[in-house]
């Protein structure tokens, strides 16, 4: 059989696509391995006398969660107002402005709460994770950990993953409240619906399922943000420039994955 002509553009295209695909599969495999190894250390670490240290988890929880709370509140509040404006504008056509309560409550808990929070955390903490681990990689700190017999996944990844798994749902819940509060404030000014009545109606409309749906999503997003941040950090080569690239790449990738995963989840959770 003749060799395929390497200058044929179709051939080049197929080859390029194949390479990209293989690299994507490779990376997905790496992410899975990383996830499994992080959980291994969280669960089995103590049996090997190499536990994941709780102070490390707490400091990550502070950095990821507590420090992000104000900005999550402000953004979710703004989104809540925005939703109320749009929904009231639309419902006015039918003269059903008071239905805004359900609209805001459901969109915030099922969609906007988890999405806004995780995009924010991806930008804040996912990038920080990539930058921190990338810098450590460049400075041989990761090698230093390994030669000291300290597994870098246990020391660096597990605490971040754990902190992310706790804090992202917490922040999401917080964001739900902030978003609903924003909607309530706007509704009280625009259509004169009292805050108390608004809260009462919200509780009436919202089912636990709606909140769970948002929280489950946020758990998945937490895994995405940590793994993408960490893996990009570990893959850094080539000094400070490499760290910058990895940081950018981790933010773009995690936000893309979050949005796509959100779509898939929403589809399956609402069948």
């Amino acid at each position: 059989m003749a060799e395929p002509d390497s200058r044929n553009s179709v051939y080049l295209f197929v080859e390029h696509t194949g390479r990209v695909f293989i690299r994507a599969v490779e990376e997905a495999g790496y992410l899975c391995a990383l996830l499994i190894e992080s959980f291994f250390w969280l669960i089995c670490g103590p049996f090997f006398k190499q536990p994941v240290r709780s102070p490390a988890i707490f400091s990550q929880m502070m950095a990821i969660g507590i420090a992000a709370a104000p900005i999550v509140f402000i953004l979710s509040f703004a989104v809540g107002i925005m939703l109320a404006i749009q929904i009231i504008y639309n419902l006015r056509i039918f003269g059903a402005e008071s239905q805004v309560v359900g609209g805001v409550a459901l969109s915030v808990t099922r969609e906007f709460g988890p999405l806004i929070t995780s995009i924010l955390v991806a930008g804040r903490s996912g990038s920080a994770l990539a930058a921190r681990i990338g810098t450590m990689q460049v400075n041989q700190e990761v090698d230093a950990l390994r030669v000291m017999g300290i597994n870098p996944v246990r020391y660096l990844v597990s605490p971040s993953l754990m902190a992310m798994l706790i804090m992202l749902p917490t922040l999401t819940f917080f964001s739900d409240i902030a978003g609903i509060l924003g909607g309530a404030l706007y509704a009280s000014v625009e259509i004169g619906l009292g805050l108390e009545a608004y809260a009462f109606q919200t509780l009436e409309i919202l089912k636990m399922d709606d909140i769970y749906q948002g929280l489950i999503k946020s758990v998945v997003f937490a895994v995405i943000i940590s793994l993408i941040g960490v893996s990009n950090g570990f893959m850094v080569s080539g000094g400070a420039e490499g760290v910058g690239k990895a940081t950018t790449r981790s933010v773009v990738l995690s936000i893309s994955y979050i949005v796509v995963a959100d779509m898939i989840f929403t589809y399956f959770l609402n069948r």
């Binding site: 810098t135 450590m136 090698d143 230093a144 390994r146 000291m148």
Partner: protein, 267 residues
């Protein structure tokens, strides 16, 4: 003949072949370091000396060959055995590689916290003692960013020796240091060998420091070992390549015209 040759080998490298991607870096390296000996691995940049160090530290999986540290072949042992072995290995990286989020004292204590269940006070005293050994007494509460390059390197040595390891590795200890600090570090390496009977491997391209502290020297060039011998043996070697390394003259490599053209044109 050096006096250390009768002792047991602490490090034995046999027929080590390694690849980076598809390029073969080390082409069958053999090396033995005896207990309580300072072995210098010398060579220009691109000679493969840093690669050899990485594999000695168990940071890579070789294509072929074996690396025995304290009698254990690290290319074949379980991760639990490797974990135990690592407690007997100290490494001072070129840039120090202190964790920037921890204080100097916490950095030095890190191996103790991970590997031992000693009392907190004991660990503190041990860390401070090692900082005294490297002349950094009283600096334990500073962050690495507040230290100069030489101080970071010395703190890294303190961290590397905090567990009293049997094997100690130095990567370019004098790179980027002024002559005085560099001489201090050489002095320290000698003291570690004499006081603690450590087996020490130093990777360097600094001739002066190498000749001062070496028991034996291994000269590496393009992934091959050119020679291993005492300071005098290396100095008086009649190999042209070694002499050109020693005198810092570029070597007169033979040029294969066909290969060279192919390399330049990529055809």
């Amino acid at each position: 003949m050096s006096a250390t040759e009768n002792r047991n080998p602490a490090i034995e490298v046999e027929d080590l072949v390694t690849h980076y991607g598809k390029v073969e870096i080390l082409h069958g390296v053999n090396m033995t370091v005896h207990e309580g000996e300072i072995m210098i691995i010398m060579g220009g940049s691109g000679s493969g000396k840093s690669t050899l160090l990485r594999y000695l530290l168990g940071l890579g999986v070789p294509t072929r060959g074996s690396i025995r540290l304290l009698g254990k072949d690290i290319t074949r042992i379980t991760s639990t055995e490797m974990h135990e072995l690592r407690q007997n290995m100290g490494v001072a990286f070129q840039g120090g590689a202190l964790l920037s989020s921890l204080t100097v004292g916490e950095n030095v204590q890190l191996p103790l916290n991970e590997h031992t269940r000693l009392d907190r006070k004991t660990k503190e005293i041990m860390a401070r003692m090692k900082l005294e050994v490297v002349n950094l007494g009283g600096f334990e509460n500073l962050m690495p960013a507040q230290l100069s390059g030489g101080m970071i390197k010395r703190a890294a040595v303190a961290r590397a020796i905090v567990m009293d390891p049997k094997l100690m590795f130095f990567d370019e200890p004098s790179a980027g240091l002024d002559p005085v600090v560099s001489a201090e570090l050489d002095e320290l390496i000698l003291r570690l060998r004499d006081a603690l009977q450590m087996t020490i491997v130093v990777v360097t391209h600094e001739l002066d420091s190498a000749f001062k502290i070496a028991d034996r020297i291994t000269v590496l060039d393009k992934g091959h070992i050119l020679m291993t011998g005492s300071v005098d043996e290396v100095r008086s070697s009649d190999s042209e390549r070694i002499q050109s390394l020693l005198n810092r003259r570029p070597g007169n490599d033979e040029i294969h015209a066909d290969e060279y053209l192919a390399r330049l044109t990529g055809m």
